[in-house]
């Protein structure tokens, strides 16, 4: 199946859902800091980032809707937990603030490489949305990279926590680059260069920043599974929370 201009529709849908689901889950997780962050400024920052990520999720779901005719709210709030295709990385609990910061930084760098790739894509809708999102992402990266730089070696405790967070988060983050179903078609139609290529670009960006913050990259294998709907149970709890009110009266106006 492909559109008139040779874009493989099904593979594109797979891609859009994966992007939308990633942003949805991370936005949800970040908003768990609203009211609980270590200082008011970070409370505001993570609440803001959460809204941006949820807004990006909505933007990807809206593109998906153009292809599938399914509404964003029903995609986000009515699916079974085992139907989402987010990477596992974004589904883990928010952890301590160090884990949240490290996850956000690794995610923000991935956003940079993937959105830059998409903004060169021949498929105009994905190109436009990517360019728009990149503008907001510049601020996210500035914020998360700044925290990595400041917390990485500030005190003994901050270093210990940041290193522990990286040990957990790094293999999970590699899971962002798990190949999608139909990825070969996306590559051949020029939508992007594929996840392996994105991962290498991503590594090239994160390595110097982490090293500079005195943080060592662990050697554990990538935490794959999410793109194939093989999730960890944290996602079940997250989705139960996410949908709990919506499901009291599905289809009603809320």
């Amino acid at each position: 199946m492909s559109t008139s201009d040779g874009i493989p529709t099904q593979a594109l849908e797979t891609l859009l859902l994966a992007l939308a689901d990633d942003e949805l889950m991370l936005g949800h997780r970040n908003a768990e800091w609203t009211g609980y962050a270590p200082l008011i400024e970070e409370d505001i920052a993570f609440s803001n980032i959460a809204q941006d990520e949820l807004g990006h999720s909505l933007a990807w779901f809206t593109l998906y809707q153009q292809l599938s005719n399914k509404k964003p709210d029903s995609l986000a709030f009515e699916r079974e937990w085992s139907d989402y295709t987010c990477c596992r990385f974004v589904t883990y609990p928010k952890g301590d603030f160090a884990y949240t910061v490290v996850r956000q930084y690794l995610f923000d760098e991935a956003e940079q490489v993937r959105l830059r790739a998409f903004s060169l894509s021949p498929y105009e809708p994905i190109r436009d949305v990517s360019a728009k999102i990149l503008r907001e992402e510049a601020y996210h990266l500035m914020h998360s990279q700044g925290l990595i730089e400041r917390l990485g070696d500030a005190t003994e405790e901050s270093h210990r926590r940041m290193q522990a967070a990286l040990n957990d988060a790094f293999p999970q983050a590699l899971g962002m680059f798990e190949a999608l179903e139909g990825e070969d078609e996306l590559i051949s139609s020029g939508i992007f260069g594929g996840n392996a290529k994105l991962r290498d670009e991503w590594l090239g960006r994160v390595q110097p920043v982490l090293e500079n913050a005195t943080l060592l990259i662990p050697g554990a294998p990538a935490d794959f599974g999410g793109r194939k709907r093989n999730h960890v149970e944290y996602l079940q709890q997250l989705v139960d929370d996410l949908q709990s009110v919506y499901k009291i009266a599905p289809g009603a106006k809320w």
Binding site: A31, G35, L39, I40, S47, E157, V245
Partner: protein, 312 residues
């Protein structure tokens, strides 16, 4: 040097300025009592914003649909921003944010009593946004006239943002009021729960104590508690009724003569108990804030260490 200015002269000049409606700025001379009252008032107001994030913030993970989830996060984020702004206003009077927060967590500082009530249903989010913020805006609109400049300016911005919260709260309540029977029951339950706590927000009846008179004289406040409460009641009652919702007060009626709604006073003994720490959620609210504060201590210490390092 000029001739010495006596304390009485200073006070007289201060009171003349204030009576003329001039604003007092942080560097200006002010009576100690004025400074203390304002630190206490603005500090309590800031704490209310921070603690006030919790009852609604609880519902962020469960908010139904993108629009509600986004607006709720934005709203609770606004409260954090208001807290930040108010702590800064209080800091201009010589007390640090950290000191004020320590007092809050030690149970030595007060915050808006209304946040010691629980939020067991999604509809509470709408009712807080609408009723609580409406009662707050009535009070804060009065405070825009307060004699202390930084507080008055903070109130202008805060009221502007609160006006959106009220609209969003109203929209949520109106949607549920027109919804399924379950949704209607949910929202009526929330109105029943929040009616009296919101009436208490403007404070106990004025006995025109020395304290109130002093506040009015120095234009810290420009209206009495009863005036503020009556304004809130007159605004909100017709709107609640227009949505087909009922208010849990059988004696509520419009008085043609005074052109005001007359209403049953809330239980002022309950207010006393809750203010003194014996409300349904007091312990929980402070426990949550204490844990967040402790969990975040290493971050604040690390950022401070880094600032020192950079400055050195």
């Amino acid at each position: 040097m000029n001739s010495q200015v006596t304390a009485e002269d200073q006070l007289a000049r201060f009171e003349e300025r204030v009576a003329r409606g001039e604003k007092v700025e942080p560097g200006d001379w002010m009576p100690d009592e004025y400074r203390k009252s304002l630190i206490r008032m603005i500090g309590q107001h800031a704490h209310s914003e921070i603690v006030g994030q919790l009852p609604e913030g609880k519902w962020i993970p469960y908010a139904p649909g993108f629009r509600r989830k986004l607006t709720l996060i934005a709203k609770v984020q606004d409260e954090a921003g208001h807290g930040q702004l108010l702590y800064r206003a209080a800091e201009t009077l010589g007390k640090s944010r950290e000191e004020m927060l320590e007092e809050l967590l030690a149970g030595k500082a007060k915050y808006a009593n209304v946040f010691n009530y629980p939020t067991p249903s999604w509809a509470d989010v709408g009712v807080i946004g609408w009723l609580v913020d409406m009662a707050a805006v009535v009070n804060q609109t009065m405070l825009q006239q307060t004699s202390f400049g930084p507080y008055a300016r903070a109130m202008k911005r805060i009221c502007y943002e609160e006006s959106f919260h009220i609209k969003q709260g109203y929209d949520l309540v109106a949607t549920l009021a027109k919804g399924t029977p379950e949704q209607k029951a949910m929202v009526q339950g929330a109105i029943d729960r929040w009616w009296y706590p919101t009436l208490m927000m403007s404070g106990p009846p004025d006995n025109l104590s020395a304290h109130t008179l002093q506040s009015l004289k120095w234009r810290i406040k420009t209206k009495t508690n009863e005036q503020v409460r009556q304004e809130y009641v007159d605004l909100i009652v017709p709107q609640i009724r227009a949505l087909g919702l009922t208010i849990p007060d059988r004696d509520l009626k419009y008085d043609e003569k005074s052109e005001h709604w007359s209403y049953t006073q809330p239980d002022w003994e309950e207010l006393k108990r809750v203010v003194n720490g014996d409300g349904p959620m007091n312990k929980e609210r402070l426990a949550v804030r204490r844990k967040a504060h402790e969990d975040g201590r290493w971050v604040r210490e690390a950022l401070a260490a880094k600032r020192k390092e950079v400055a050195a």
